[in-house]
Amino acid sequence: MSEGHLSLFYKELEAGRLTGSKCKACGEVFVPPRPLCSRCGGETETVSLKGEGAIESFTVIHVPPVFLKDASPYILALVRLEEGALVMGRLLGYDPSKPEEVKMGLKVRFEALKEKHGEKEETIVAFKPLEA
């Protein structure tokens, strides 16, 4: 039952798509997909997510991990997708030195971001303003 939830997620992410799990019992949606619901323990099914949502919280990282030394400062946001899931991602399209311009509730859209972490290229979840 467990094979590939995470490898599927990253394969999809690399192709620019966001996937999650929906609980068959309580309807909760989670990212990345997993076999059992984190809320009620019910079984889940894998779902494709549109990736649009609103900022529920954000921060600007000034003291980054070693592998992101050259990328800081950068903005991280928790975004509530329309499908219900909360997702953390890098927030693009805003100036990290002007956090007052980032507003809670702002509409954003998912984007896959390719980034160098040391020697490795990684694909991570990012968001940018919906209007852009």
Partner: protein, 413 residues
């Protein structure tokens, strides 16, 4: 319910510090803390003869000391070999897991006397490597990889809290101001200066005069942003340290002291590691569940507590803790801190030892370090920071990571 009563008959700890322990290894810090615990046992104890097992919390020895298998290694250095010994880990609550393992081992009837310990030797790595080691407590895939750091995760919680309750960063500064004051009364604290004293010193150097402590925190270049809106003084420091306690069954306790502490309540709680999987960003469900279990087993309510140690790895964490432990209502922390409710002279003294902010946070040692403070407050040996009326009941609250784990223990005289 526990089948057997469990008692604390001794406790000890090293100073928590970034400087004092430069030439010592984790195992040597453990010896130092244990030595003090031995001396604290009223009727004396002989480790090798009396102690039957050792449980020890150490979050990331792999990174700091290129070492694991800490249980038997510590046993050797404490003269405890061949007694059973293993390590426990739930991030920053690792020594609370050791305390839990010790409590259940005694309550199960298997042992009468066990040592529980915690240690973290952090200053062997540079700050950015420590940041990386700490990040192991968050979800590597959903958080670390995306660029989250621990200050960043708590900053996300702070922003959600501010938004929900209309609270401000300025209000939050009551936390470090109180905790540095308490730390100034604690000879084992990492920082033993009030923020006022620091402001004066920094002001002199820069030729500036700060109006008050908040003015310093707001306007000093020293208090730089780490993860917006959290600044340097919203974060606990990086410390070395170890802490130890001796547990005994009801049968055995009186062999060691006539005035043991009794474990009244115990609770562990868990939440999803990644913030994005949490049901609520303005509260730690793990704390609420752990507290509920601890209050239930102790059969007491928050208003019965005389002294409380909470996990303030970041300022916002202390606000969440006092609410999730039921010391104040949801959203009431800002007002409670303005009114001084949690000061040493307040109604519910919180973090009388300076908290993680001023006392320091050698991760694996923190839970049992808190127990040391309750040990002293309940026995009336807390010196200048002793709460007014000798405390009868104390609580320890220790969090792992950004709140995926929490442990709560309640002790009585």
């Amino acid at each position: 319910m526990l089948a057997e009563g469990v008692y604390i008959v001794g406790a000890g700890m090293t100073a928590f510090s970034a400087k004092l322990h430069a030439n010592k290894t984790g195992r040597e810090l453990l010896v130092e803390a244990t030595w003090e615990a031995v001396k604290s046992v009223d009727k004396g104890i002989t480790l090798h003869k009396d102690v039957e097992a050792l449980f020890i919390g150490y979050f990331t020895p792999e990174y700091y000391e290129h070492q694991s298998h800490i249980g038997p290694l510590a046993a050797t250095w404490l003269g405890l070999t061949p007694k059973p010994a293993f390590r426990t880990e739930i991030a920053c609550a690792s020594s609370s897991a050791a305390l839990f393992a010790g409590v259940t081992a005694v309550a199960s009837g298997l042992y009468d006397v066990v040592l529980v310990a915690g240690v973290e030797k952090m200053t062997s790595l540079e700050t950015e490597r420590v940041t990386e080691a700490l990040a192991l407590a968050s979800d590597d895939l959903s958080e670390s990889k995306v660029g989250a750091t621990f200050p960043g995760l708590y900053a996300l919680l702070a922003q959600a809290y501010f938004r929900r309750y209309g609270a401000t960063w300025e209000q939050l500064q009551r936390v470090p101001i109180k905790n540095h004051y308490n730390g100034s009364l604690n000879p084992k604290a990492h920082f033993q200066q009030t923020i006022g004293q620091m402001a004066e010193k920094v002001g002199k150097k820069l030729g500036v005069q700060y109006k008050d402590e908040l003015d310093f925190l707001k306007n000093s270049p020293f208090n730089r942003v780490v993860a917006y809106p959290l600044r340097l003084f919203d974060c606990c420091p990086i410390s070395d340290g170890a802490a130890v306690a001796v547990l005994a069954s009801g049968r055995a306790a009186r062999r060691f002291t006539d005035t043991p502490l009794r474990l009244l309540g115990v609770g562990l709680g868990t939440d999803n590691v990644a913030l994005q999987d949490r049901a609520d960003l303005t509260s730690l469900v793990a704390t609420r569940n752990a507290a509920e279990a601890a209050y239930r087993t102790a059969d007491i309510s928050p208003k019965d507590l005389d002294v409380v140690e909470v996990h303030d790895c970041f300022t916002i964490a202390e606000w969440l803790a006092v609410e999730d432990l039921g010391l104040v209502g949801r959203g009431e922390a800002p007002r409670a801190y303005e009114e001084g409710l949690t000061g040493i002279e307040g109604e519910i003294p919180v973090n009388t030892d300076g908290g993680l902010k001023a006392k320091g946070h050698p991760v694996g040692a923190t839970g049992i370090g808190m127990l040391n403070e309750v040990w002293h407050q309940l026995r009336g040996t807390a010196g200048r920071r002793q709460v007014k009326n000798k405390a009868e009941t104390g609580l320890v609250h220790n969090v792992g990571g950004s709140g995926a784990s929490a442990a709560v223990f309640i002790f009585g005289r």
